[in-house]
């Protein structure tokens, strides 16, 4: 007969009291799990956003005031000369190397360990946007360099049909395809030129969903914009690439373009979310402290109510240490019950409010969060039980005997 079994049997026997005592812990742990789960999903979502846009630069014509991804400077009549791309790449590479070294990165000769080849070449994806009437609808036609574009937008997937392969083949965004009822294989006329639609892009939740995509030279030819592009997307291929440095250098050294980075925006969002998470974390900590006090009161009351039992255990030979352990095991049991119920409730809350708060995020329960919540619950309960358990151990046998 082990002492912990005696304690756990008692926890199981007094189910209602256990549940009542553990209820404060349950609520606090539910808050903790819900916060960690939804917060984790939001963090992951932001990381994805940073991964998509954060390590990239968008370069617009300097004369265009419109720099948002929604405006594109379409119809502004401003373009970047396509033959400026090598110069942009040269400045970008130099800025990345300089920034890398400023951050303390070691750069040796190409081919050596830690050499220049650890920085992969960026993906440079130019685009030309032109408005057009297709099937009596206003449509934006985007000319892209297919190989670079598919690498830069690695999240693109084909919903129906196939990627364009030939010069006169095009692909439509999902929303446009749905609205205009476009199907792969369909012939379209763009600015008087007949082209073939080969595929539909899966929905991306971005302006790409409303566009028609074709090869850059084809779009330049159709709209008579030789050597002209609307913007360039440069995607850095290293996680810690100093993209901000490249943005600065490009704006200073390349005439006629303006570079912008989305990383700062994403990071600012991340900071805001971290602050909100800290506030919620504070509430969780306060809840746990209140739960701790509730368990303390309950355990003190329980021990006073069970003084006859404490007396009996003393008479049967229980030492102070054994009584302390007995009540601490009960505390652990209550903590585990409260933690398990709280974890379950927290998961349910996260699944209910997560999709409402973060429609694009995947609400995923992590075992580590559940483990952390259980640990917090047990710690809270153990802290709350410590003094009552010590008090039980100090009850004099004679005092306990008089209660028998």
């Amino acid at each position: 007969m082990k002492i912990y079994r005696v304690a756990l049997r008692e926890v199981a026997r007094r189910r209602i009291r256990t549940l009542y005592t553990a209820s404060g812990i349950t609520v606090a742990v539910a808050l903790l799990v819900a916060t960690l789960t939804v917060g984790g999903a939001a963090h992951h979502d932001l990381q994805q956003t940073i991964a998509r846009y954060g390590h990239s630069l968008t370069i617009f014509p300097a004369t265009t005031h419109e720099t948002s991804l929604q405006g594109f400077g379409i119809g502004s009549g401003h373009y970047i000369p396509q033959d400026l791309i090598p110069e942009i790449k040269r400045v970008y590479d130099a800025a990345i190397r300089a920034g890398w070294q400023q951050k303390g990165g070691l750069l040796l000769a190409e081919g050596a360990p830690g050499g220049l080849d650890i920085i992969e070449d960026p993906i440079i994806a130019p685009r030309l946007y032109e408005p057009a009437q297709v099937l009596d609808r206003d449509v934006i036609v985007a000319g892209v360099e297919a190989s670079e574009e598919y690498k830069a937008r690695f999240w693109w997937e084909i919903d129906d049909g196939a990627l364009p392969a030939a010069a006169d083949e095009f692909m439509a965004g999902k929303v446009l395809a749905d609205v205009a009822r476009l199907r792969p294989g369909q012939r379209l006329v763009i600015n008087g030129h007949e082209v073939k639609l080969t595929g539909i892009l899966r929905e991306t939740d971005s302006p790409d969903d409303y566009m028609l995509f074709g090869a850059l030279p084809t779009v330049q030819r159709i709209f008579d914009r030789p050597n002209k592009i609307s913007l360039i997307n440069i995607r850095a291929m290293c996680n810690y690439c100093p993209v901000g440095e490249a943005e600065l250098w490009l704006n200073q050294q390349v005439v006629g373009v303006r570079a912008t980075s989305q990383r700062e925006i994403a990071q600012a969002q991340h900071r805001i979310f971290a602050n909100v998470a800290s506030v919620i974390g504070g509430f969780v900590a306060v809840s746990l402290a209140i739960a701790c006090m509730a368990v303390f009161n309950m355990m003190m009351g329980t021990i006073h109510g069970r003084i006859r039992e404490v007396g009996l255990l003393k008479v049967l030979g229980a030492s102070r240490w054994q009584l302390l352990r007995l009540f601490m095991y009960e505390g652990i049991g209550i903590g585990l019950v409260g933690g398990a119920l709280g974890a379950g409730l927290g998961i349910v809350i996260a699944q209910l409010i997560g999709p409402w708060l973060l429609p694009t995020a995947i609400i995923q329960v992590r075992l580590s969060h559940v483990g952390l919540a259980l640990a917090a619950a047990v710690l809270t309960s153990v802290l709350a039980t410590l003094y009552p358990a010590i008090h039980a151990g100090r009850i004099k046998p004679a005092q306990a005997f008089r209660a028998l």
């Binding site: 002492i3 008692e10 008479v315 049967l316």
Partner: protein, 225 residues
């Protein structure tokens, strides 16, 4: 092992209740021999239970000397007294006090668990004792599944699990009907015949008459020994 199992010499016990000093025991001398079966009788408040508690090392006398199985216990520390209680003394109470969440077998094993007995040996001993008190078929029953007499028999088995030198029974049949009372007393008598020393507090003259010795306490003093 000592022939004189317990010796109380000039035992006085004073309690202070409010501003008044109450004398529970007054110059009490008592010798309990190995194999004794003593009935302590006397009216309520006469000091019977106090005497029992002093014998068991649960309370200390105000003055006087207490020797249990050759060890002076009246000035022992709590830890030393705990050791004496574990090895030498066992209690049986008026009401069967069992932990309701444990089975009869587990309740019997409990004192052994506290004193660090080996599990397998402890279980075997507890099973033997339950068979001995006629509850071999009720080992896995919880307290609420046992009758009053059965629960008291579990308490007797529990008292014996650590092989105590002295069993102190405080009105062990007080809450039982006549037939069950006789069963319990016969069990205690049988244990005594096997050599177990028993000191029993009782109000029942019939049970007291069955003891080998009767000691009466009145107003904290022994009337006859």
């Amino acid at each position: 092992m000592h022939d004189r199992m317990a010796i109380l010499e000039d035992i006085t016990k004073l309690y202070r209740i409010g501003g008044t000093e109450v004398c529970a025991l007054d110059a009490v001398n008592l010798e309990v021999r190995q194999g004794d079966y003593i009935a302590l009788i006397g009216p309520s408040g006469s000091g019977k239970s106090t005497l029992l508690n002093i014998l068991g090392g649960v309370e200390s006398p105000t003055t006087g000397r207490v020797t249990v199985d050759g060890e002076r216990i009246e000035r022992m520390s709590e830890r030393q007294l705990l050791d004496v209680r574990r090895r030498k003394v066992a209690y049986i109470f008026q009401e069967a006090r069992l932990l309701p969440s444990l089975t009869a077998l587990e309740n019997v094993m409990l004192p052994g668990a506290f004193s660090g007995a080996r599990q397998a040996e402890l279980r075997r001993r507890a099973q033997e004792l339950l068979h001995r008190v006629g509850l071999g078929a009720r080992m896995n029953h919880l307290m609420h599944q046992l009758s009053g007499g059965e629960a008291q028999r579990v308490c007797i088995a529990r008292a014996l699990v650590n092989r105590p030198r002295l069993v102190l029974a405080d009105e062990p049949t007080g809450s039982l009907d006549h037939a069950t009372r006789l069963q319990i007393v016969e069990l205690l008598e049988a244990l005594n015949r096997e050599g177990q020393t028993v000191v029993m507090v009782t109000h029942d003259p019939e049970l007291a008459a069955r003891a080998r010795r009767t000691v009466e306490i009145r107003n904290g003093r022994l009337e006859a020994a």
